[in-house]
């Protein structure tokens, strides 16, 4: 059983009410048990609508150790290009310099340019064009050079 498989199993557990899982594969037996939290109120694992759209962001967990995450400093709408008619500021694989504009987050009709804090290469774009973003929302993963 590979580390990747284990990680996948743990992720699987997280999103369900399963407290114990036993898996046998290729001669390896794995038992994963989760402590059930005692709460005085029944709290459903409610995911508000805003967060439903961003499940993809959690996959960045493993990679964020070596990559730098660019997060939104404000609440607004994410745009990849300066105007609808022009090309995006950057594409995947683009080399960016510190201070270079990566995208726009529009808030109340004001276009806020989001700049890179480092010299690096764009490895992943985590949100879609026109998507609403909140404070701290991961936008890009950059590989520092």
């Amino acid at each position: 059983m590979e580390l990747e498989d284990l990680k996948e199993l743990i992720e699987l557990l997280k999103d369900t009410d399963i407290t114990e899982l036993q898996v046998e594969k290729d001669g390896t037996k794995v038992k994963i048990k989760r402590e059930k939290m005692l709460t005085s109120l029944d709290m459903p694992g409610h995911k508000p609508a805003m967060h439903m759209e961003k499940a993809a962001a959690s996959e960045a967990d493993e990679e964020t150790q070596r990559l730098v995450t660019v997060t939104s400093p404000i609440v607004g709408t994410f745009f990849r290009s300066p105007t609808p008619e022009t090309n995006p500021f950057i594409e995947i694989g683009a080399r960016v310099a510190k201070g270079q504009v990566l995208c726009i987050v529009e808030a109340m009709k004001l276009m806020n340019e989001i700049e890179s804090e480092i010299d690096g290469v764009v490895m992943k774009i985590l949100v879609d064009n026109g998507q609403p973003v909140e404070y701290g929302e991961p936008l890009f993963l950059l590989e520092p050079v």
Binding site: L38, S40, H46, I74, V75, M108, P132, V133, Y135, G136
Partner: protein
Amino acid sequence: MKLFKKVLIANRSEIAVRIIRACKELGIKTVSVYSEADKDSLHVRLADESVCIGPAPSSQSYLNIPALLSSAEITDSDAIHPGYGFLSENFHFAEACTTSGITFIGPTPENIRIGGDKAKARQTMKRKGVPVVSGSDGPVPNEEVAMKIAKKMGFPIVLKASAGGGGHGMKIVKEEKDLEQAFFMAQREALTAFANSEIYLEEYIPEMRHIEVQIMADNKGNTIHLSERDCSIQRRHQKLLEESPSPLLTTEKFRKRIGELGVKAAKALKYRNIGTVEFIVDSKGNIYFIEVNTRVQVEHPVTEAVTGIDIIKEQIKLAAGFPLELRQNQIRPYGHAIECRINAEDPERFVPCPGKITFLALPGGPGVRVDTAIYQGYVIPSQYDSLIAKLIVHGKDRTEAIAKMKCALDGFIIEGIHTTIPFHKKVLNHPDFISGNFNTNFVEKMRTGAQENK
């Protein structure tokens, strides 16, 4: 007339939960906002959607007007409820909402502006025949003018900040020789706390009761009152316990008079939506206007208990333009209600005490209500105020209400942090409280009395 489709609650903690409940009951979708410190808050879990608006400091989150307006924009909210505190009495925020095409659930920006200018509010009341404490006509420009007015009126007097509240910039001056220094100190405090050093002057009333009237008005100016609340149990101008009816106002005539003055004051300001008019009543039973609070108040559940009216739901309907359906003669308060504000503070020294709630058991039973956002396992953040729960009881009379509150306080078990529950038990057992014979000096007297007995 249609209700809003979606309301963004620009607040946190128990009041955000309260507003979410009212919206849900009305079939309105809810959006909550939170700082990074409030990620695990109840108000985030209960709302249909949530938006992280900034890091922990209030100035960058709950007071961050662009972040709030932007959140309303991206979630397509048609109204914002500001709750209490934070931006609820911020004239710029109210205006900015309106400019952005979002309804601000509260009074008009003009109501907020004048409510926030206490010297001006006093002047308006004087002009319209609402009794005010004798004092200056508007703000006092300098210490010489203050001295002239004070000498004419006679000491003791109190200096108050025009833009103020919570006792900041407030100085009681007992003698002429103390006035100059007090004036400069009051100005400095007011400037620091409110960025406005304007001071006005009033006669000091030593033994006063703080009694306030809940009012409600629609867009056409139809205004009613929902009877009064007595909030005299205070420490350093912070309310700790409130009740209705006031044990001081023992006659129907007296209660009617203060209610009518509340409506008169609201109409004088062309007040819209809900608000509270604050009065002080002196030892002779004279009623004086102090200020108007242009927002929903912490202690609104006390009035909900005695009138049976859901104030927040009414507030939302009024903001959506619905006419006021309630008539004054339909407001018939019954029984007696008491609210205790439970703070995460040391009950002796009132020092805030954030931390993790390791065990929680809530009281219940008929006439017992708890408004809170805490849960077992919740970690109270240190960056915000210490109110963690409101315990409200309603009984058929004051004796039953007191008995119910004592029982409910005993049944309210919070472990892992200090709370002011023991303090409230002391109040409820104090002979002066039980007899209804107290004023705003009660807490101070109770604590000094306790120290003398040690």
